[in-house]
Subunit: 327 residues, 2 copies
C-alpha cells in the first residue's frame, strides 16, 4: 500500500480546482499536472503544480495513472472522454442522463482498446444517489424510491432568470418541500412528481428602473422552469447577491419506502448537506480514482459505473483494516 | 438472466423465517429446502417447503446454489459456517464484531478449498452501515463518523432486565438522543460516547407483589447496561407487553461530518426505520445471495464482506438497465 497513485486533471474549472484541493487529503496520491485547452500560462494554480496544454497529453501516458476528466458533460466529455480513455485510466462526472448509454459504449470501446479502465458518471447524482437507488431497490423490491434535490443552486434555472428582461443578475435555489419529505418518510408511498417535491426560490438583482412586478410575473409564469412550481422571487442588491449567494451549496435525499413480504414497512433514507457542491463532487472523483487504478491493476478493463465498484476499491485503508475497524 | 438461483436456508428462527418470506419478492430465486438440527417434522412451515435435517445437507451440494446461514453468531455460525462454506456458496449475518477477523479467515479457507464464495457479516450493522462508514470516510477523509442505533429492541438489555428479581417479563428499547443527533447534523463534530448518544427505555412486567421501586432502582443502577445511561422504566401489564411490544422494530443512523480541503463542511446521513428487524435483515441476506452466486460464477472465490461486493451484484436488474434507469 506504499505505492502512490499519480493523478492528472483535465480542465480547471470549479471541479478541477476542487479535485486539486481534495488531493491534499489523499496521502496515497500525487498530482502530476493540470491539462487545459487554454494557454497554460493563463491558468493560475496555487502551489507548484505544472500546467500543460492538452495537446501534450500524449507525453504523459507513462507518467499518470489516473486522469480526472473535469470538463462539462455537454461538449467537453463526449469529445475528450473517448480520446483520453484510450490513453489513461479515467474518472469523470458525465451527467447528461439520456446520453449515458451512448457515452458508456464509447468509453467502454476506447478504454478496452487501450487496456484501460474508465469510471463514468461519478459524483453524487449520478453517483452516490445512484448507488442508494440500486441498493435499496435490491433489498426492498416492493417499494418506491424518491429523489429530492436541494437545497441547492440550479445552474439551468439561474440562467433562465438572467435571460428575463430587466434582470441584471440572479440565482435560483431548488428546495425540497418539507410536506412532501414528511409524507415520504411516513411510509405512505405517495405519488409525487418533481414539482410536487420541490419549490423554487429566486434572488434577483433588477436593473435600475426595471419593473419589478413584471419581472416577478415573467419568472413565475415561465413554462417548464417555474410555472408548475411554488416559486418565490426576492429582489436584492448586487452587494447582497455577492455577499450572501457566492457559495455553491447543494444536497438532497434518496428515500426508499417499501414493504417486506410479512407486511412490515421500512424506510431507508440517504441525504447530503453540502456547503460546496464542486468540493464534495471532486472528493468523490478522487475516491473513485483509487478504484480506477486498482481495478485496472487487477485487469478489470473497460468502462465502469459506480454500480461496478466494490466499496473496498475506493477506501484508502486496506481491506483487513476495513473489516476490523468499519465492518 | 433467466437462470433461477436455488436457495437453501439453514436455521429457522426469526431470520430464517424472514428469508423464506423475502424470497416471495425475488422472482429470480427459488427455495429448495430448510435445514434444521431439530426433528424436521417439528418445524412448521407455510406452503410446501420441504424441511430436512442438517445431517442430510451433503445430499444437496448439486441442488443448492446459495445457502443462507440464519443461525446465531455466538455458537451456530462459528461451528456451522466453515463446514457449510466448503460445500456451498453462503451468506451469513455474523455480527460478533471482535471475532470477525478470525471468522473471516476460517470462512475464507473453507470456501476456497471448496471452490465456493461466502459473504459474511451481511445485514444492516454489520452490513449497510459498514458500507456507509467506508464510503463516507473514503470521500471525506477529514471528518468524524457517528453511528446511532434505534429506536429498537436490544436483546442483551432485555435479557438483563428479565434477570432482575421481581421481574416477570420485560423489553428494552435503545433510542438515539435527539440532542446528540442534532449536534452531529450541525457539523460541529462533537466527541460523543455511546452513552451520550443513546437513552434506554424499559417496559417491565412485575411479579405480583413485587417492590416496583426496588426493581426500578436495580435496573437504573445496573453497571454497563444502564448505570451510565439516561434510563426510563415503565411498569406495564402482561397484556400491554403482548399488545404493544410484540414487534421487533429497529433502525439507526450513520452520519459522517467532514470538511474538504477548501474549508467547506459536508454532512452525509444514512438512516433506517424498520418495522421488523429480522424481516429487513433477511431481505439484505437475499440480495447478497444473488451476489454470492454471481461472484462464484465469475470465479471470485473465498470469503467476502459487503466491502467486496459491487452494487450491481446485488441488483436483480441487469447492469445496462441499472445504468439506464437508476444511474
Amino acid at each position: 500500500m506504499t505505492e502512490t497513485i499519480r493523478i492528472g486533471i483535465v480542465g480547471f474549472g470549479n471541479l478541477g480546482k476542487g479535485a486539486l484541493q481534495a488531493l491534499k487529503y489523499s496521502s496515497d496520491m500525487e498530482i502530476v499536472g493540470i491539462f487545459t485547452r487554454r494557454d497554460p500560462k493563463s491558468v493560475k494554480v496555487d502551489g507548484h503544480v505544472p500546467v500543460y496544454h492538452m495537446d501534450d497529453v500524449q507525453d504523459f501516458v507513462d507518467k499518470i495513472d489516473v486522469m480526472l476528466l473535469c470538463g462539462g458533460s455537454a461538449t467537453d466529455l463526449p469529445e475528450q472522454g473517448p480520446v483520453l480513455a484510450k490513453l489513461f485510466n479515467t474518472v469523470d462526472s458525465f451527467d447528461t442522463h439520456a446520453r449515458i448509454p451512448e457515452y458508456f459504449a464509447k468509453m467502454d470501446e476506447a478504454s478496452r482498446s487501450g487496456g484501460k479502465t474508465s469510471i463514468i458518471s461519478v459524483g453524487w447524482d449520478p453517483g452516490l444517489f445512484s448507488i442508494m437507488r440500486a441498493f435499496t431497490e435490491a433489498i426492498l423490491p416492493e417499494g418506491d424510491t424518491y429523489t429530492f434535490w436541494g437545497k441547492g443552486v440550479s445552474q439551468g434555472h439561474s440562467d433562465a432568470i438572467r435571460r428575463v428582461p430587466g434582470v441584471k443578475a440572479g440565482i435560483q435555489y431548488t428546495i425540497p418541500l418539507d410536506d412532501a419529505l414528511e409524507q415520504v418518510r411516513s411510509g405512505s408511498r405517495p405519488v409525487l412528481s418533481t414539482r410536487e417535491k420541490h419549490r423554487r426560490e429566486c434572488f434577483v438583482v433588477a436593473e435600475d428602473g426595471a419593473d419589478k412586478a413584471k419581472i416577478e410575473e415573467t419568472i413565475k409564469n415561465m413554462p417548464n422552469y417555474f410555472a408548475d412550481y411554488e416559486t418565490t422571487v426576492h429582489f436584492i442588491s448586487e452587494e447582497e447577491l455577492k455577499r450572501d449567494h457566492g457559495e455553491m451549496p447543494h444536497g438532497g435525499f434518496v428515500i426508499r419506502s417499501g414493504e417486506t413480504a410479512d407486511g412490515s414497512s421500512h424506510v431507508v433514507e440517504f441525504s447530503l448537506k453540502l456547503a460546496s457542491n464542486p468540493a464534495f463532487t471532486s472528493s468523490v472523483l478522487i475516491a473513485y480514482a483509487r478504484a480506477a487504478y486498482r481495478m485496472n491493476e487487477e485487469g478489470q478493463l473497460g468502462a465502469k459505473t459506480v454500480f461496478d465498484v466494490a466499496p473496498a476499491y475506493i477506501a484508502p485503508k486496506p481491506n483487513e483494516i476495513l473489516r476490523k475497524d468499519l465492518l
